[in-house]
Symmetry: C3
Subunit: 382 residues, 3 copies
């Protein structure tokens, strides 16, 4: 049974293991078809609409590629040139965007306490308009990064791990270090670490979350990670030492984020419009970061991992010391060795997006994929 | 006979009743097919180009959705990033955009005396390039709102009325109040009220136009409305009282607009570049609006309508008192009751756009629709 | 044999004559099919990505139209709203954009010494990601204007000449004057004159390049033009007199550009961020231009050409005296007579783009075109 049919995908932890596995399996099947030159077009016409309330390259193109793979034309809602600037409500916008739309992808990750809420408001508005017969179908809402989770990223990460270790069952007992890392910028969202600890704990991994005192994530996600670890036979621990987290790790994911408290204060200030306070907050946050330049994924740090050869992961772009900044999340040497592998990691995202569309839009996506494979229609002439 | 074939659609009053009915019938047929999951793709490839010289959400997405429904890829001409900024002429731009384009949709509604003129310049330029063999086909120009008319809106409104009253013949004798309403912003285009009074008078409705002294529309449109009312057996009257217009009305359409004289002066100032004068004009216009806050569609006002239960219409977004502003066009209570219905009203627009494309691009659109229905190709797999 | 298969197209002079002829033949075949209403869709799904680092109307739409003609959905990388602003490297961006992409079109023409280099960096990055298995296919890179060449323009120009003179063999012995012309703006790229002199010399034309002292092009391109002229039995000469160049010319191409030295200095200043120096450079460059207002393609100047009736060419937009400026490249009378013909010239560009895509993406494009013609699937219903 496909539990995602006619549903949304906002947080991985709202969906059972079977659903997450179905996403991975469908993505893998689509990737195999695509690599074999087989057309995966399942829509003659139809729209995928994206709303980006923060910058994006990878996820934007993953969304567009995933839509295109299935035959959907993409549109991006540009809030600046739309009448949304004129005081339109979410309900109204959702109805207008939804008329012939299959999927609405939303990134809203900069305001802690608001991004996920906004995505649910859009979903509720689409529900209403569909129930009232305004919309002929209820488009799926897919989270392209909120304040809480970044599911297309974390599931692409999971797909990468499955590939690396040769099967999801092989993740059992592998140690993953999700670690804060130093960055010369502040205000990075929390959704990636939150997404990683809540997802990887579900498949028996030993997940360690490391961060300097004060760099807390949203509390619920730690509880969720603990609960999942318990159920899966894995473990979840928190430490304030990058080195401790890296010790004997099979996989390391060193990535900067802003403390939840800073993100909450930032949201408050942005609403109140106190410009001076924003500058002050930034100054303080950067000063705080600067006290932790030793949280860098260096070759020395990597030597503590299993066989000194842990898999390095990153959602990109990484702050690479001596490449994109003077002192960042990762040393040039470590990053350069893993660079192409991080592209491979990212390469799963378009197929995760496509899988989410298939699963939310079709009652029997397995049958849809089977038929695509059977028909084996070439994606291009010649 | 399809009189729109190879033509444009700029003003409803340039087209005979049979043509308007054909637009409505085609839109309804396409909507029925789409709701039934039948593919309406009639183009293998081809472009729909839009030029938005003012903000837009609803109409932009209606255009894109309508194009996508038929198989056209959409492109939006962004005048800021194009070389139009380098002094390109309309003729040149039209030729360049037209190469493989089926339809050009244009919004140009902010400059009274210019929007419609610009659309005709584009049309003439396309004519020239086609006649000279530069363009392999002559794209249709569709008005997505000009200074004079907003035909995709008014025809969506008409389609809504036809649905509400169960047939176009049932509009005869129904009273519609097109009324100015208070807004805390100024500079709203005239095309909606002008479009409504000139279209609804053609089908036997009793149309009353209400506005405070000074808030005149472009004169010709009132004459056109009178002429149509006479021919259709309906009526057209003008009053300076919202209450009088609402009395016993079946339908009310309370919507703000700027006086034609203000819009003309605004156009003049924008050309001359006198920034101070623009501020002054805005101040005066807002002060003038503020003298008419009683032009609000309240529950009390609605009690005067037929059975106290007139249908409320709006092109959206509405200025809703206590929702999007302190004192607007409509009270929260009235709007909330009608809200979903205004979405339904808007929901006809993508199909009106698609119908206009079918009618302008195909000699026998009825046959095209018949074949789509007969083939009944599903829009999506599975 | 198709030497472009799995390759890029950055500079015409990197490709042999047979390849250039194949581009022209394929473009002509596609145009004939399109004008006959035959679908040229060869991709079921797939993306064409464009990166415009300078304004564009014509080339942007040519790229989009060419992609659409073949069935590709287009995406434009907007560097301002992407995380490229966050310090992303070219290699990373290329990998992310490349996942399901067939072609990447790039305009980067404002920085002398950098545009071509950037295109090669993107190409190298795509190579790496493809070789490593990250990308399932290696997208072609197509130059949509660099600091060195503007091949879709020059080949559209060539296609136009072939049409005008009734065959590529008829270009032999025809005289073409590629002349600098006065403009009231500065900083125009060099790629058009460089592209024209290096391409037209390959087919036996007598090409004369004319410019006032100091307005040099990048030196290598003159050597390339000389070499090609020698090989093709044509000629290549340089003069500092527009009148001399026009004498007895069959074709004139009067077009402004900035001196290579100015463009180099401009690039240096833009990197160093010396705003005052940029103003000073602009002032000097405009003063220099102003000393050459006599370099205008007037009716008097045209009288010196063959029979007083040389073919006027321009890549558009032209600076037309008394139309788009007070003193420009061409007089109103000369331009108006040739205007529609310049649209025709531009009209080849979408098909050149489509031909480049076919040739880079298919091993046997001739067979692909033959099959399209044989199937003769209509591009639209009815």
């Amino acid at each position: 049974m496909n539990r995602l049919h006619n549903g949304d995908f906002l947080l991985t932890w709202e969906h059972d293991d079977a659903t997450v596995r179905a996403v991975l399996d469908t993505a893998a099947a689509l990737e195999e078809l695509a690599r074999g030159g087989v057309s995966c077009k399942v829509f003659e016409t139809g729209l995928g609409v994206s709303i980006f309330r923060d910058n994006s390259t990878r996820t934007r193109y993953a969304f567009r590629s995933g839509c295109n793979l299935l035959g959907l034309m993409t549109e991006e809602l540009d809030e600046s040139s739309s009448q949304i600037a004129h005081g339109e409500t979410v309900r109204e916008t959702a109805a207008m965007l939804g008329f012939l739309t299959e999927v609405v992808g939303i990134r809203d990750d900069m305001f802690l306490g608001e991004g996920d809420k906004y995505q649910r408001e859009v979903a509720a508005a689409l529900d209403e308009s569909h129930k009232e017969g305004v919309l002929m179908q209820r488009p799926a809402v897919i989270n392209l990064q909120s304040d809480l989770d970044h599911p297309t990223q974390s599931m692409a990460d999971l797909a990468h791990l499955v590939e690396v270790f040769g099967g999801i069952e092989n993740l059992k007992g592998k140690k993953l270090a999700m670690s804060w890392a130093h960055s010369p910028s502040y205000g990075k969202p929390l959704s990636v670490p939150q997404g990683v600890i809540t997802l990887m704990t579900r498949f028996g991994m030993d997940v360690v979350l490391a961060y300097p005192p004060g760099y807390d994530l949203v509390g619920d996600t730690l509880e969720t990670a603990s609960r999942f670890a318990k159920a899966s036979g894995g473990s979840f621990a928190v430490t304030d030492s990058m080195a401790a987290a890296f010790e004997n790790a099979d996989v390391v994911y060193p990535k900067s984020w802003a403390p939840a408290a800073v993100m909450r204060e930032r949201t408050r200030i942005l609403h109140s419009g106190e410009k001076d306070k924003l500058k002050e907050l930034e100054r303080e946050a950067l000063a705080s970061n600067a006290r932790h330049t030793d949280w860098e994924c260096t070759e020395a740090m990597m030597r503590g991992t299993k066989g000194g050869a842990a898999r390095y992961m990153h959602c990109l772009p990484a702050d690479v010391t001596d490449v994109s900044c003077a002192a960042g999340e990762v040393s040039k040497a470590v990053f350069e060795k893993a660079r192409v592998d991080t592209y491979r990691e990212a390469g799963h995202k378009p197929f995760i997006v496509a899988a989410l569309i298939l699963l939310t839009r079709f009652a029997d996506p397995t049958e849809v994929v089977r038929r695509l494979a059977k028909d084996a229609k070439p994606r291009r002439a010649g």
